[in-house]
Amino acid sequence: MRLRELYASDPGAADQRLWGRRSSALTRRGFLRGSGRAALSAALGMSIPFARFMPAGLVPAAFAASNAPDVIPGKEGLVILNDRPLNAETPAHLLADAVTPNRYMFIRNNGIPPVTADPATWELRIAGESCLRPTTFTIADLRARFEEITLQLQLECGGNGRSEFVPAASGNQWSTGAVGCPSFTGVRLRDVLNYCGVAADAVYLGYYGADTHTSGAPELDPISRGVPIAKAMERESLIAWAMNGEDIPPQNGFPLRLVCAGWPGSVSGKWLNRLVVRDRVHDGEKMLPPSYTVPERPVAPGSRVPDEDMRIIESMPVKSLITFPESGISHDFRERLPISGHAWAGDNQVSAVFLSTDFGTTWVPTALQSGANRLAWQHFSSWVQLPEPGYYEVWARAMDDRGRSQPMVVPGWNPRGYLNNACHRIAVQAV
C-alpha cells in the first residue's frame, strides 16, 4: 500500500505505523515519542522542531519540497512555515482546482485555535458602541432568521509573497501559496448587522475569535481586526459556517468565521464569537502599524516609517498564479505546452492575463473566464510553443479592470513585506 493510500484509509494508524506518532483527537496535535520521532527525523534527514506541537494533517516542509506523498487527514501537501502558531502554504500546482478544496486551503494562524468548538452551542455576540440592539445568536438562530447564501470567495494573506522582499521583512516567509478560493456558505453580514441596528455614526466592524495568544497570556488577543462598515455591508461579506459544503476545517475557523473577500485574509476573522460595531476605526490587536499597514507614500527599501505615515491595507492588488504545469518540468519542445491558472484583483475584476516565455520581452493574451461571482478568482488558460530546447520561464501577468498590471520585479518595499504581487514565474526545460 502506498503512503497516500495508507493515510487515506486510516490516518491515525498510518501515523502510528510509520512514525509511532500519536495525534490526540482532542487537540489534533501529534506526539512523537522515542523511536517514532527518530524514524521521522531520519526520513527527513533533520529534526522536526517542536514535533510535539506538530498538528496532525500537515506535511513537514522537507517532505512537501521533495514531492513526498501527503501525510494526514484534513490537509494535504501544505508546506509548514511555522508550527506555533501554525502557518502553512499551498504549492502552486495544488491550487489548480477551480474551487479550492478544503484540504488545499492555506493556514494562517496568529494564535492557538480553540481546542473544543461545538457548533450546537457556539454563540456569536453582536455588540459595540454603534450597535443599536446588541444580540447573541447561535448558529441555528442565524440559519433560521436569515437568508442562506453560498458564494465562491477569494482569500489571500496580506503577506503572501513576503519572502521576496529585500531587506527581509519580519514574519512568515510566504512564497506564493497563501491564497485560495473555496466556496463559503453562511448568511450575509449586512442582514445580521441590519437586524441588530447599525447607528448612523458607525465607522468600522471589528471581530473577536476564540483563538488564544501563543504566550498563553489570557489578557492578550492574538488578533482582532475587521473592515470599514461599507465593506461589511457588501453583498458578498458573509458570516459562514460551511466551506465547500462541509464544516469549515478546524484550522480555517470551525465552526464560524467571517469572510470579507478581496482584502487581506486577516480581516476575515476565524473561530468567530463576537462582532463589534465601532464608532471609530477598530483598535483591536494587529489593527495598528506595523501590522497589516503599508506606507502612505512609497518609501526607499529599508526605510523606518513612523506609524502616522502608515495606512491600513484595504483591497488587495491584482495577481495571478500559474497552477499548471508545476514549476520544474522538462518538456518536449515540439509539443504545445498548456498553461493555466487563476487571477484575482481584490475588490476589482481581472480584465486580462498575459503570458511570456522570453523573460517579459513579448506577451500573449490568454482565455480568461469570469469569476463564479464577484470576489471569486478567475480562471485563465492558454498554451505556448517553445521554439527550441533550452531553459524557459513562463511568466503570468494579470491586469485589472482599471488597467493596473502586476509588476515583473518585486513591487515597492514596505516595512512588513505586504502586497508582493510580482508576476508568477515557473521554470521549464525544453528538451
Binding site: 533533520m46 529534526s47 522537507a62 521533495s66 506523498p69 502558531p85 529585500v166 531587506p167 504566550s215 492578550l220
Partner: protein, 123 residues
C-alpha cells in the same frame, strides 16, 4: 514492503540534500549550533516556534527592532543587557541580512533538470 522502500528512498534523498548544506543544527529546535544558540533556544521559543526565527533574516538592528516589537505588544519581558547582546550577535551572524536582489532566481526546488553543470559545481 512498499512503505519501507518509499521510506528508505525518501530518507536517502533527504539525507543527501542535507549533506550538501552541512551546518550543524540542534535537533530539538532546528537552530544552527553556534555561540548563543542555547540562549536563543531558551529565550525565544516560549511563545513561538523556532521556525519563526530560522525563516527570517536581518542585521543586528533589524533583530533588535523585532525584540522591541515583541516587548511592546506581545508580552516579551525586558532581557538583561548581556543576554540580549548574545542573542543579537547569534541572530545577526547565523540569520543575517539577505543578499540584495530585486527578483531572485526561482528556488532550486522549482527548477527543472539542467543539462549543464553550474557555478556551484567544481570544474
Amino acid at each position: 514492503m512498499r512503505i519501507a522502500r518509499a521510506l528508505s528512498l525518501l530518507s536517502a534523498l533527504l539525507l543527501s540534500l542535507t549533506a550538501a548544506t552541512a551546518q550543524e543544527t540542534d535537533p530539538d529546535t532546528g537552530l544552527i549550533v553556534g555561540t548563543g544558540w542555547r540562549e536563543v533556544a531558551g529565550t525565544c521559543t516560549e511563545c513561538h516556534s523556532p521556525l519563526l526565527i530560522t525563516q527570517n533574516a536581518g542585521n543586528k538592528a533589524v533583530w533588535r527592532s523585532r525584540i522591541r516589537w515583541m516587548q511592546e505588544t506581545q508580552g516579551l519581558q525586558i532581557l538583561p543587557g548581556e543576554l540580549e547582546e548574545t542573542i543579537l550577535d547569534y541572530l545577526s551572524t547565523h540569520y543575517g541580512e539577505k543578499a540584495p536582489s530585486r527578483r531572485p532566481p526561482l528556488p532550486e526546488s522549482q527548477l527543472p533538470a539542467n543539462p549543464y553543470p553550474t557555478l556551484n559545481d567544481d570544474d
